[in-house]
């Protein structure tokens, strides 16, 4: 690996001032490092300074804000912490669906939720469930803090709205309405250590004591350069009684509005078929999960 110095700020403010200390643009923030170190090893970049965020003792917990009921996931929470959190497993099953299948345990023990979002590779699928929950991220830079809706956060493969020197602090998931649940499918060739051929997430809210859908979010991963919502499919479902046949139609709409293409991991036609099938299946699973909450 190329030479660099390893800095260990204790606060976000300190990290940001370290970033701007030198103007050579050769500083990089690192959280878990499972992506950053790989890129350095591969020679994709050679920073002079790694500013480690591992010693910042904030933004590393999963908690419910008692005032708003919002779920706040610190950017430095690891995927393993997310996977093993009872709160996530019980109340936010769609997040658990994705967290448990990212990399391996060795990777999940180190890699952070924030790092995965900031990397913004099209196959990084932890964002998909979070987008179906209308999440936004809180970021901080020299000019202070700002919030960005997660769906807008991704600009292009590897590019986000983060400005130079900004750090992602938290992911905030607004309190979902009653009778809401979701499900996520990462479709892969093998069961582990895989990137998705396509990822399909859906979160549904039903009216009390009925199957009428009053809110739905469908988000697709690897279906375009950045995560995308299937808006036609969502609009089609609003106000209707959810059935398997209806979800099947929504799957077809999502499939046709997706921007999938041929790549080394999968073919366009296969991805289209997968979206059709899994919008339906994940939709049915979400409904099932809502029923389980009621009883």
């Amino acid at each position: 690996m190329s030479q660099f110095s390893y800095l260990t700020p204790k606060t976000i403010e300190e990290a940001i001032s370290m970033y701007f200390e030198k103007s050579d643009k050769k500083s990089i923030y690192m959280a878990g490092g499972t992506d950053v170190l790989l890129k350095i090893k591969e020679g994709k970049f050679s920073p002079n300074r790694i500013i480690s965020l591992k010693h910042v003792m904030e933004h590393n917990t999963i908690k419910i804000d008692p005032e708003t009921g919002n779920l706040i996931i610190g950017a430095f929470v690891t995927h393993r912490e997310l996977e093993t959190s009872n709160l996530i497993r019980q109340k936010y099953k769609i997040i658990h669906d994705a967290a448990k299948n990212i990399g391996s345990i060795q990777i999940r023990n180190v890699a952070t939720v924030g790092g995965n979002l900031v990397n913004a590779v099209p196959s990084a699928d932890s964002a998909i469930p979070l987008i179906t929950l209308d999440s936004f991220v809180r970021v901080m830079g020299r000019q202070g803090q700002r919030n960005i809706d997660l769906i807008d956060f991704f600009v292009a493969p590897g590019r986000t709205l983060l400005k130079s020197g900004e750090i992602l602090l938290d992911i905030i998931i607004p309190k979902p309405p009653s009778f809401t649940a979701g499900a996520y499918k990462k479709f892969t060739r093998r069961a582990a250590m895989e990137l998705p051929i396509v990822g399909i997430g859906i979160t549904v809210s039903l009216e009390r004591n009925s199957n009428i859908c009053n809110k739905v979010r469908i988000c697709l991963g690897v279906a375009g350069p950045t995560p995308m919502r299937a808006l036609n499919a969502e609009n089609f479902l609003i106000g209707k009684v959810i059935t398997e046949a209806l979800l099947n139609e929504a799957g077809c709409l999502a499939s046709s509005e997706s921007k999938v293409r041929d790549s080394i991991r999968g073919k366009l036609w296969h991805r289209k078929e997968l979206i059709k099938v899994f919008v339906k299946r994940m939709g049915m699973l979400a409904i099932e999960r809502i029923k389980l909450q009621k009883s």
Binding site: M1, S2, Q3, F4, S5, Y6, T8, G33, T34, L37, L38, K41, I50, S52, K54, R80, K100, G103, S104, I105, Q106, I107, N109, V110, A191, A192, M193
Partner: protein, 159 residues
């Protein structure tokens, strides 16, 4: 730039000057002579370099050595006792044919250790989940999973 770090390795306390760009794997193998931990892919895919840091399995090839400051590291060398008696997981791998060429074995055993330290009685599903980041090109995995299942009984007998 060298950094001075303090850490515990296999129960022993160390203070070392490490270069910031050394991986933990490099420190262990090239500077401390602990060659039980293997380098396979060097990119966090194969698990041959798995060691346990503060109770958690990590890939030593994508973990920087300055990050073990004030932490506890256990490698395959730390499992047997001072007399060279093998740990129960090691014994189980030998008894149950969990080893063929042996290259993946230290990583497999360290992942199994992290699992068995966390869950007393893991299911086959738990075992597969825990070992999914470790690649073996010889055994076809069945004997490895059998070895971990059998290790559960060895553990009970030891207690």
């Amino acid at each position: 730039m060298p950094t001075k770090i303090n850490f515990t390795l296999n129960g022993e306390k160390f203070q070392k000057d490490v270069e910031d760009n050394w991986t933990l794997l490099y420190l262990l193998r090239e500077k401390m002579g602990l060659i039980g931990t293997k380098e396979g892919c060097g990119s966090g895919e194969c698990g041959a370099c798995t060691v346990v840091v503060d109770g958690k399995a990590v890939n030593a090839c994508i973990y920087l050595s300055p990050e073990i400051n004030n932490r506890e590291v256990i490698t395959i060398e730390g499992l047997s006792n001072k007399n060279g008696d093998l740990n129960y997981i090691q014994q189980s791998f030998i008894d149950n044919g969990g080893i063929q060429c042996g290259f993946c074995t230290p990583g497999m055993i360290m992942s199994s250790k992290a699992l068995l330290d966390e869950i007393n009685d893991p299911t086959v599903e738990n075992i597969k989940h825990a070992l999914s980041g470790n690649i073996c090109r010889c055994t076809g995995y069945s004997q490895i999973i059998d070895s971990v299942i059998a290790a559960k009984t060895y553990k009970k007998q030891n207690q």
